[in-house]
């Protein structure tokens, strides 16, 4: 099973202002983009669990033109606040990098994989 980074050209996180984080994933090819979308490993629900954020505060955007996904969440601590560990917000994506990406089973069985 491939790890997420193997299907991408870029995985990054950054502050979108001091109160929000935004993640950008840019995929190598259409197959990878579709496979990850279908897998649900970076769905709103998955992000909600990984980052302990209420699901209604997770925003997911798709930009198929450049094979990109964007996910935005409120910051766990405001930037530079007493309990913050990453002022620029640049290392929050790390727990996504080695996520395992299941194969898209639809081709084999014709049944959609659960999100």
């Amino acid at each position: 099973m491939p790890e997420l980074w193997q299907l991408t050209r870029l995985i990054r996180s950054k502050n979108a202002g001091p109160f929000e984080l935004t993640f950008d994933l840019i995929f190598k090819d259409r197959k990878s983009f579709d496979q990850v979308k279908t897998s649900g490993i970076v769905s709103a629900g998955a992000i909600s669990r990984l980052y302990r954020v209420p699901i209604d505060q997770v925003r997911v955007f798709e930009l198929p033109a450049i094979l990109a996904l964007k996910v935005s969440i409120p910051r766990p601590a405001f930037s530079g606040d007493i309990n913050d560990t990453d002022v620029y917000g640049g290392q929050f994506h790390s727990r996504l990098v080695r996520l395992l990406v299941p194969e898209d089973r639809r081709e084999q069985t014709g049944v959609p994989t659960p999100a």
Partner: protein, 455 residues
């Protein structure tokens, strides 16, 4: 033949540098103005709170000198926003000092506009009482007490105050906190470029050369705007923009992929087309602007305490194999000692132990031996109401941890390897952002007072 405006970004952040020859080349290609963003909240609240500036005097003056020289020689305006990194009064004053110094040293004579964006707290209290300040999400709690208790507030100006300065004949405009985009959109809109085009172009320009496919170093960026759209082309021939690199840059630092909120409305990029022009330029069309009631973002910083830190390395395998229990026991001992020796209860200070692990071998002793299979680094961080108290807490923390016993050893041991003397380092005041709000304005220029000076 419609209106065309050639916009030039000196670099993405004033003080981060650019190649002098790139700027010269861009000016030769034709430019109607040079813009530069000089600040950000990216590095946290310290700069806004303390009045300090991120880049050195040398780095800022180098960039400013070259931009001023080129702009004045070409007879085009230079617009710098979020002066001094934080964009408040002390930041603006420092930057104006540099500009006057450069003018005098180089015998440059021009009209200088300074635009303030630090807002008087009583003005904000009035606005708050009138219901003109509303929170974004998530927002720290803001009320009359927290407004008065903060260090300072700035409001992020839109393009109108820059336009006001341009119309007053200013050749060099130094502004406090500004929307990065408005630094670049002001002149084009004044010349008849549609807001949608100007704002989107500003979004690309504000990071300088960052929208290229491979940015080897910070550098200039040039955009030609017209009534239908704009064309991005890096003036440095070693760099190139592609549709992918420009789109990826439109995503950067934006929580929302398709909407960018600016004072006075929202830039909608959902229907934008990005087309390659040759192999290093990109044509962008289809940006839309939806007007909205005029609001400016408020930023504020409040003092949260003073900080002292210490860094300790640990690689004794016996300590490491019981590390969680070791730390749990240590923290209890430290809490009691701080209460007994420093007179502070746990609620009166924060003490965090941030452990960074290297599961591979580590050679931070610096002697070429890979002496440890595993090593951990602990960043000890104490925040207390005064610098002296923070120093007192961190000293108890590192000294206690140094000698904290483990059952396997009889005798006094030293668990922590400190790379510095003193082990505890006073790190100064700590601030936190205390506002993520917008202020509803009737007049986009009213809070942003401009002064003109003939140098």
């Amino acid at each position: 033949m419609g209106t065309k405006v050639k916009a030039l970004a000196g670099t993405g952040g004033l003080g981060s540098g650019f190649l002098e020859e790139t700027l010269s080349r861009a000016i030769k290609n034709g430019a109607d103005f040079i813009g530069c963003d000089a600040g950000s909240t990216d590095a946290g609240p310290y700069y806004l709170g303390s009045g300090k500036t991120k880049s050195s005097r040398e780095a800022i003056m180098r960039d400013t000198r070259i931009m001023m020289r080129e702009a004045l020689a070409a007879g085009i305006p230079l617009l710098i926003g979020t002066a001094g990194f934080g964009g408040g009064k002390p930041h603006l004053e420092r930057m104006l000092g540099y500009v006057r110094e450069l003018a005098e040293a180089n015998h440059w004579h021009f009209k200088l506009a300074a635009i303030n964006s630090e807002i008087d707290k009583e003005v904000l209290v009035e606005a708050y009482r009138a219901g003109r300040i509303t929170p974004l999400h998530p927002a720290p709690r803001l009320d009359e007490e927290t407004i008065r208790g903060a260090e300072r507030f700035v409001a992020m100006m839109g393009l109108e105050p820059f336009q006001h300065a341009l119309q007053a004949g200013a050749q060099v405009i130094i502004a406090g906190r500004s929307s990065d985009v408005s630094i670049y959109a002001a002149l084009p809109v004044l010349r008849g470029i549609p807001k949608a085009v100007a704002l989107h172009a500003g979004k690309i320009l504000e990071c300088g050369a960052a929208s290229v496919a491979q940015r080897f170093h910070p550098d200039c960026m040039a955009i030609t705007l017209d009534e239908e759209g704009f064309t991005v082309e890096p003036p440095n021939p070693a760099m190139r923009c592609t549709p992918e690199s420009v789109i990826a840059h439109t995503m950067y630092e934006n929580a929302d992929l398709f909407s960018l909120v600016e004072p006075g409305g929202v830039l909608d990029t959902s229907a934008v087309k990005y087309e390659a022009v040759g192999d290093r330029a990109v044509r962008v069309t289809g940006s839309r602007f939806k007007p909205a009631p005029y609001t400016v973002k408020l930023e504020g910083a409040m003092l949260a305490g003073y900080r002292s830190v210490a860094f300790a390395g640990v690689d004794d395998p016996l300590v490491l194999r019981q590390f969680p229990a070791f730390m749990a026991g240590l923290k209890k001992v430290v809490e009691k000692k701080v209460r007994d020796s420093v007179g502070l209860d746990a609620k009166q200070y924060t003490l965090s132990w941030r452990v960074y692990g290297d599961p591979g071998s580590a050679d931070w002793h610096g002697n070429g031996d890979q002496t440890a299979d595993h090593a951990l680094g602990i960043f000890i961080d104490a925040i207390a109401p005064t610098q002296a108290l923070a120093g007192a807490v961190v000293t108890v923390a590192w000294h206690t941890g140094l000698h904290h016993p483990i059952p396997e050893y009889d005798g006094l041991i030293s668990n922590f390897a400190f790379p510095t003397s003193p082990p505890g380092i006073d790190a100064g005041p700590v601030y936190r952002f205390c506002a993520n709000h917008v202020w509803h304005l009737d007049n986009p220029c009213e809070p942003f007072k401009m002064t003109l000076e003939n140098l």
